[in-house]
């Protein structure tokens, strides 16, 4: 009995400590209508200090894209009042689920100033909108 309790305690403690670590813990939101990709976000990275929320998102392709990438991770900021997002950074990978070495990365306002814009997504009709809804709820 005591051994079982110790094993249970160790199991849950390890779960707790792992959630402190700097690795992603992706939650799937949905997949595209054409089933070509899935969108995930990491709940524990959702943080806010002022007007906006910040979080990390993963787009996972089902098939290799023309540029050979299979997934991309973006760091986004959200305006929950307007359902708009801005992408702060973009990193793509040749493996699924953001695995493997990064293929290309970009700090958006540094490299593509004109792309650092607010973009609106309908929370009812788009998957990106569903991510916004999840982050803002």
């Amino acid at each position: 009995m005591n051994k079982k309790i110790i094993i249970l305690i160790l199991f849950f403690l390890s779960f707790n400590f792992s959630s402190y670590s700097a690795t992603f813990n992706w939650t799937k939101v949905n997949q595209s209508n054409d089933e070509t990709f899935e969108l995930y976000y990491d709940k524990k990275t959702v943080l806010s200090t002022g007007r906006y929320f910040f979080y990390w998102q993963l787009l996972n392709y089902k098939k290799k894209q023309d540029n050979n990438i299979l997934s991309l991770i973006t760091h986004n900021m959200v305006n929950c009042e307007t359902s708009e997002i801005k992408v702060i950074s973009y990193t793509d990978f040749k493996d699924n689920m953001g695995k493997g070495s990064p293929d290309f990365e970009m700090i958006v306002p540094e490299v593509e100033t004109e792309s650092f814009q607010w973009t609106y997504y309908d929370t009812n009709t788009t998957i990106q909108g569903q991510v916004i809804k999840s982050v803002c709820d």
Partner: protein, 136 residues
């Protein structure tokens, strides 16, 4: 004994829930001028590609301006050069990021002029010591 197990499970899951959107600041130290304490939250540090992203807290001990007693910032660092960029700056009228928000800036939104890489010495500069922790 069953009560102890139940209590343990409840405690465990309540701790997991508090991870979602709150900060757990760890003090790094005070700067050379003795006017700012620097903190960062290790669980917010995320490595993606060549950079690490993290959240910091600065507690202002003296020379208070505009009623800002503390600030929370979202920063990024290139660990191979100890250069960092500040993405956000939120100033509060109480210590430890409490009270009312006085300022709330998204740095690259305000001006790209301020969205620059800045080096901090990991030994001489308290912010560099913070970067060393982030880059561990």
């Amino acid at each position: 004994m069953n009560k102890i197990i139940c209590a343990f499970f409840i405690l465990t899951f309540s701790i997991v829930n508090t991870h979602s959107a709150s900060f757990n600041w760890i003090k790094i130290g005070t700067n050379g001028e003795n006017d700012t304490d620097w903190y960062y939250d290790p669980k917010t540090a995320i490595k993606v590609g060549n950079y690490r992203y993290y959240w910091t807290l600065a507690n202002f001990l003296s020379n208070i301006e505009d009623d800002v007693y503390s600030s929370i910032g979202h920063h990024m660092v290139n660990c191979s050069t100890y250069e960092s960029k500040f993405i956000t700056y939120s100033g509060y009228n109480s210590p430890m990021g409490r009270g009312d928000l006085v300022y709330d800036y998204i740095i690259p939104e305000e001006s790209l002029e301020y969205f620059y890489w800045i080096y901090a010495d990991p030994i001489e500069d308290i912010y560099g010591v913070l970067l060393k922790e982030v880059c561990k």
